[in-house]
C-alpha cells in the first residue's frame, strides 16, 4: 500500500513536563506477564488493516467458492467446456457434496497461511521485532502469544465460514444431491476444515519465525502445501512416495477434513496427529532459535 502524503509535525519547543510513572501504585504493577504479552499481540494483530482485509478475503473465498462449486455441480452454473475446464464438477467430487461446498478451503489455506507468516515476518522486515523483544526480553512469551492469537483468531473465523459454506453449498445443491451434518463423517469434515485452517495459519507463523523473511516463508509454505503433494509422487520412487506423501501437512489435514480419507492416506486421527507433530516440531525449532539467535 503506497504512502501518499508524508506527514510532518513541528516538535514542541520544550519538553512538555509529564507525570511519568513515579506513582508507587503504578510502578508496583509494572511487569511482563503472559496475559499482557497476549494482549499486546492481539493489539498488533487487530490494528493492521491487512489483517482485516486478509480475513475478509478468506471468508469470501471459503463461502463464495463453495457456493460457486455447488452451482456448477447442480447445473445452475455452467462451467467452461473442454479439458482443464475447472477442477470442480464430475466424478468423485460431484458425488461428495461436503467436498463441493468446502471447495474454497484449498485457496483459503494459502491466505491464512500468509496471514500467519506476516504476523512475524512483518516485525522482522520493519525492525519492530527489536522493540518487541526489548519489551519482552525473555522472548518466548512473544512466540506463544502469537501462536494463541493467530490460532484462536483463525479458528474463530474459520468455524462459521466452514459451516456457512457447507450450509449454503447444500442449499444450492438441493435435495437429492446434498448431504446433512448428521451423515457419517460430515460434521468431522466441516469442523476439521476449520481446524485445518487454524493449523495452516500456525504453520505459516512457524515458517515465518524460522526463516524471518516474508518471501522465503511464503514460498516455502506454498511449496509445502501446493507443490509437494503433486510433485513428490512423480519424482520419488513409488515406495518412498507412498511412505512420505501421506505425511505432508496438506494430505495429513485432508484425512480429517474430508468425509472419507482417500486410499493410501492416513486415518482421520492419524492425520490430525501428524499435522500436530508438524506444528510442534516447527514451532519448537523456531522457539529454540528465537532464544539463541541475535535479533
Amino acid at each position: 500500500m503506497a504512502t501518499t502524503a508524508v506527514l510532518d509535525r513541528p516538535v514542541p519547543n520544550r519538553p512538555v513536563p509529564t507525570g511519568g510513572l513515579r506513582d508507587a501504585h503504578d510502578v508496583a504493577r509494572l511487569r511482563v506477564t503472559a496475559w499482557r504479552v497476549i494482549a499486546s499481540e492481539w493489539v498488533k494483530f487487530r490494528s493492521l488493516r491487512s489483517t482485516v482485509v486478509t480475513i475478509a478475503i478468506a471468508l469470501v473465498v471459503i463461502i463464495g467458492f463453495g457456493a460457486l462449486a455447488a452451482g456448477v455441480v447442480s447445473g445452475n452454473v455452467t462451467r467452461p467446456a473442454g479439458p482443464g475446464g475447472g477442477a470442480g464438477g464430475g466424478g468423485a467430487f460431484a458425488s461428495n457434496p461436503t467436498a463441493v461446498s468446502l471447495a474454497g478451503m484449498t485457496l483459503a489455506q494459502i491466505i491464512v497461511g500468509i496471514l500467519g507468516v506476516l504476523a512475524i515476518t512483518g516485525e522482522y522486515s520493519s525492525g519492530m521485532i527489536r522493540a518487541t523483544l526489548a519489551a519482552v526480553p525473555r522472548r518466548l512469551p512473544v512466540l506463544w502469544a502469537k501462536v494463541l492469537v493467530i490460532g484462536v483468531s483463525t479458528f474463530v473465523v474459520a468455524v462459521p465460514a466452514s459451516f456457512g459454506a457447507f450450509a449454503l453449498g447444500q442449499t444450492i445443491l438441493g435435495t437429492g444431491r446434498n448431504t446433512t451434518l448428521s451423515d457419517p463423517g460430515v460434521l468431522r469434515a466441516v469442523l476439521g476444515s476449520a481446524v485445518y485452517l487454524a493449523a495452516i495459519a500456525l504453520l505459516g507463523l512457524g515458517l515465518g519465525a524460522l526463516l524471518r523473511h516474508t518471501a522465503g516463508a511464503i514460498g516455502t509454505l506454498f511449496g509445502l502445501l501446493m507443490v509437494a503433494p503433486g510433485l513428490l509422487p512423480l519424482v520419488l520412487p513409488k515406495s518412498w512416495g507412498d511412505s512420505i506423501v501421506p505425511y505432508l501437512p496438506s494430505n495429513a489435514g485432508e484425512s480429517f477434513s474430508s468425509v472419507a480419507p482417500k486410499a493410501g492416506m492416513l486415518s482421520a486421527g492419524g492425520g490430525a496427529l501428524v499435522l500436530a507433530a508438524w506444528l510442534v516440531v516447527l514451532l519448537g525449532v523456531s522457539a529454540w532459535l528465537l532464544r539463541r539467535r541475535d535479533a
Binding site: T33, S47, A134
Partner: protein, 317 residues
Amino acid sequence: MIVVDQVTKSYGATRAVNSLSFTVRPGVVTGFLGPNGAGKSTTMRMMMGLDRPDSGHVTIGGKAYVDHTAPLHEVGALLEAKAIHPGRSAYDHLLALALTNGIPRRRITEVLDLVGLTSVARKRAGAFSLGMGQRLGIAAALLGDPDVILLDEPVNGLDPEGILWIRTLLKDLAEEGRTVFVSSHLISEMALTAEHLVVVGRGRLIADTSVDELRRTVAGASVHVRTPDATRLGRLLVDDGVTVTSGPDPHELDVSGLDAATIGDRALAAGIPVHALVPHEVSLEDAFMQLTHDSVEYQPTSLATSEGLATTEGQAA
C-alpha cells in the same frame, strides 16, 4: 548505570566489538562516539539483550537486561529509526509495547504529547517523515519512564528545530538523575549535548573522557611563528610544558604551550624581530579525527588530514 565489561562480539570473521569495557553513569548525558562501523550499534544491541556477546557481560542497574521484571521501566531504547510497522498507527504501536509491561494508557497520551505527535497519533506510521518516525521512537523509549535511556543516532533525520529539542530533552532527562547514553558519529553534535564521551573505533575503546577534558587537550593548540632569528627565539621559549618545533623553513617555528601574546611579548623583550604570529586553532572535529583516524573502517584512499594537529597523545588503537 550501565557497565560494559570485557565484551567481545564477532559476526562471522568480522570482530565488531573487541574486549570493550566502560561505565555509563547516571546524571549526565554520555555520548557514544565513533566512526561508522566502530561497533556502536552492536554494543547498544548487546546492552538490550538483543545480541549476545561472545564473551564478557553487560549489566544495566546491576542486572543483565533480560533479568529485569519490568524492562521498559528500567531501560528505554531507540535503536533504529522508523522500526514501526508502516500500517500501524503511532498510538497502536505504543499501546502494543505498553501492554507488555502493564504501562497504563495515560502514559501513552503523555509521551505522545511530549514528542508532539498527539494530532497524528491515529495516522498510519507509514505516512510519517523520518523525523516523525524518530520522535515516535523517542516516545517509545520514554514510555516506561525508564531510569536508563539509550538512543542510537537520535538526531538523524531531525530538522534543526528537532535537534535543538532533543538536546534540551536529553539534558533534562539527565538532570532528573537518569542515565542517558546517546550514540553519534558527529562530535560537533555530542559536544553540544554530552558531558562525557566514550569514543570507540574498530570495536575498541579509544577514549573515555569528558568533553571539557577533550577540549582542553585540543586547546593546547600551536602558534606558528616566523622570525629571522628562529634559533634564538626557540631557545628562549622552550620550557616546561612548552614545545618548540622547527619546520623545513629555518625561519619558522611551531610553538605549543604558549599563547601568541606571550610569545610576542617575550620576543620583544629579547629584541627578536617577529614577522608573523599565527595562532593555530584545532577544532574538536580535528581532535576526533585524530583520535579515530587509525580505526576508521572504511577509509577513502586519500584522507585529507589537517596539518597542525597538536600531538599524537591519546592515540590508543
